[in-house]
């Protein structure tokens, strides 16, 4: 789960990392009120969870009330990369003398946390990574041992840091690692970590994503994950316990397993356009597949549906009942092709066929999709 910038700021403050003076507002009136406390010039930042927000118009500077009113008026209710702006973070404009980059993330391949730092903070950090990688340093951490100031200083000396900046930046890194560890971060990043004119460090912008699998045990009070999901169908998917990604095609898909789902999309995508990606995981029940059908059929103008499931850990014969119940209750008429193999496959086939589903007993998904293409075309 990704946290909004203002939520991340609160987390960082709670562990003693300095953040700019700020307020979260929803209207120009609130923005003007906040400005009285913060002073001008100030920065308006749309609280939307998209990358490249700045270039997409989500960050503006206001020098006086007039400008603030205009800019905040425009920003509230607008969309940044398709995501509606609900909240704006109004922050002081810090006097920055240098911009650093610091982050902790999970290095999947080595299976360890990795702490990253650079003296070249700012929006061009990825370019720096490509062109002058020596300006970015990183170190892997033993997750059982943790990350101590001496390790942070060792890392930062490789960037040539010394004296006060060495100590203050090491301090921030250790606190950042604490956030990573206590909030079970996938990524925690401060970019830029501003060196203010008075020498203090300040987290001007921050990214914080926590592990969805750990949400229940993280002790820091987190926002509700469901409310975080903008797309209503994706939110519904999460609520019923499946992974649903909304797409702009017209062929529905239910798969058990992400890899099978992706392969199904790849095969469908050669002739038709998927309307969604839906992956059930290992929790199939009659009820779950009924709800999956319900979810998928909310999409308008579907031309067909492909169900691709395996009976390994999943009782697909139970799931089939849910599919058929939905079809019967709602009189579904679009062609549905199902490939359902593994434990209880015969029972599953029988049930599905009783609901008018075209069951393919070959293993290769390509054959099932070929049948779906035929049926969809014949149906139109």
């Amino acid at each position: 789960m990704r946290l909004h910038e203002y939520e991340a700021a609160r987390v960082f403050e709670s562990v003693g990392i300095k953040v700019p003076k700020h307020k979260v507002v929803q209207t120009p009136e609130e923005a003007l009120e906040a400005a009285e406390e913060i002073g001008y010039p100030l920065v308006l930042k749309a609280q939307v969870l998209v990358g490249g927000r700045g270039l997409a118009g989500g960050v503006k500077i206001a020098s006086d009330p007039e400008e603030l009113k205009t800019l905040s008026g425009k920003m509230t209710g607008s969309e940044i990369k398709g995501v509606p702006v609900d909240k704006i973070m109004v922050t002081e404009k810090a006097n920055i003398s240098d911009e650093l980059y610091v982050a902790v993330t999970v290095d999947g391949y080595s299976g360890r946390p990795v702490v990253i730092a650079s003296t070249e903070g700012g929006v061009n950090i990825e370019e720096t990574a490509r062109k002058t990688p020596e300006k970015i340093v990183s170190v892997h951490v033993d997750p059982q041992f943790g990350f101590y100031p001496f390790q942070a200083r060792r890392l930062l000396r490789r960037l040539g840091l010394s004296e006060r900046l060495l100590l203050s930046c090491a301090d921030v890194l250790v606190r950042l690692y604490k956030v990573f560890s206590q909030l079970e971060g996938i990524i925690v990043e401060i970019n830029p970590l501003a060196v203010l004119e008075n020498g203090d460090l300040c987290a001007v912008d921050a990214v914080l994503e926590v592990d969805n699998s750990a949400l229940k045990r993280i002790e820091y009070p987190l926002p509700n994950f469901l409310e975080r999901i903008d797309n209503p169908l994706e939110r519904r998917g999460r609520r019923i316990g499946v992974t649903y990604v909304d797409l702009d095609g017209d062929i529905g898909l239910i798969s058990s397993g992400a890899g099978l789902g992706m392969a199904s999309m790849d095969i469908i995508g050669q002739k038709l356009r998927p309307a969604n990606f839906l992956e059930t995981g290992g929790g199939i029940t009659e009820e779950l597949l009924y709800k999956c059908m319900e979810l998928i059929m909310r999409k308008e103008k579907l031309r067909g549906l492909f169900i691709n499931i395996y009976g390994g850990i999943n009782p697909i014969h139970e799931g089939a009942k849910g599919v058929v119940r939905y079809i019967k209750e709602h009189g579904v008429t679009i062609p549905i092709v199902a490939k359902a193999l593994g434990n209880h496959q015969e029972e599953t086939w029988e049930t599905l066929e009783s609901g008018g589903v075209h069951v393919i007993t070959d293993v290769a998904t390509e054959k099932a999709v070929a049948r779906l293409v035929e049926l969809v075309e014949a149906n139109e």
């Binding site: 360890r112 990825e126 990574a129 990183s138 990214v207 790849d266 995981g281």
Partner: protein
């Protein structure tokens, strides 16, 4: 020889008293796996499918001589059970559960760093050796004995590839699910190493997917150390890109993780990249894998 598991491997089931544990235990037994007992703390002294249930892994190992364990333990308890199992001296551990917190997986990996234990998962369907046994949830009907090795990041795609081969009577030596999580306990290349050394495997199919660096790193290994033919399929060519935030991922992985990046890395070292799963048949025929 298959890799990691055969019909003499003594296996225990952790979380054997849960619904899934019970069902899968029955199916593993039906397939001929030498399941010798189970563990559920607090349920010691009971029985499941005629097998003794123990309160601790240590006791199970002492009483049954087990050397392998398959986990059907709820995700929040996997870390604790894993420590216990490693401490008990079990040398092969299969972690079936999904949604194990990634910080736990990192700790698990750190814990076994210098220990002589082989692990699969989390989020793995496990391992199946056709005709000999299975640890995990792979549906037996799709597999057939033979000489193709399969390693898959995705569970269900491993069934798909095995099934496609089996339909044409091309059998498998061992089918391994390495786990679908961003962090897994054993990386792809370390499983490839086992297949390279296995005299019952003539070629290996690597079923990958977009994300992570497994395939890229494996390509280097294959170039330097593999003599057997390797085919690969990468799922997710048309997957929508996630909304990426932050730069740390890009800094750590560079261009690794994309469909194009992976295919290029694999092709560069001479690995055949399959366009679609069904193309595996042609590859198997070409290399006389039966």
């Amino acid at each position: 020889m298959s890799i990691l598991l055969d019909d003499s491997t003594r296996v225990i089931v952790q979380g054997i008293t849960g619904n899934i544990g019970r069902t899968q235990t029955r199916w593993m037994l039906d397939y001929g796996t030498k399941i010798v007992g189970g563990v559920t703390p607090g349920k010691g002294g009971t029985q499941v499918e005629g097998l003794p249930v123990f309160d601790s892994v240590g006791e199970a190992v002492r009483e049954t001589g087990a050397t392998a364990s398959v986990f059907f333990v709820p995700a929040p308890f996997v870390l604790d059970a894993f420590y216990e199992t490693v401490d008990a001296g079990v040398s092969f551990i299969v972690i079936v559960p999904e949604h194990v917190p990634v910080h736990d997986v990192m700790k698990m990996r750190a814990y076994i760093k210098d220990k002589d234990v082989f692990t699969l998962g989390p989020t793995t369907p496990g391992i199946l050796v056709p005709g000999k046994g299975k640890m995990g949830i792979m549906p037996a009907s799709l597999f057939f004995p033979g000489r193709a090795g399969i390693i898959s990041r995705s569970g269900t795609l491993s069934y798909e590839f095995a099934g496609i081969l089996s339909e044409k009577n091309i059998g498998q030596s061992t089918v391994v699910g390495m786990g679908a999580d961003p962090v897994v306990l054993t990386n792809l290349k370390d499983i490839l190493k086992k297949f390279e050394a296995d005299d019952e495997t003539d070629g290996v199919i690597v079923v990958g997917e977009v994300g992570g660096e497994q395939e890229e790193k494996a390509a280097e290994f294959i170039r330097d150390h593999m003599t057997k033919p390797v085919a690969s399929y990468i799922a997710g060519r048309f997957s929508p890109k996630g909304k990426r935030m932050g730069h740390a991922g890009a800094i750590v992985r560079g261009s690794a993780g994309t469909y194009e990046g992976k295919c290029e890395a694999l092709k560069n070292v001479g690995i055949e990249v399959l366009n679609s799963p069904i193309d595996v048949l042609e590859w198997a025929e070409k290399h006389n894998i039966t």
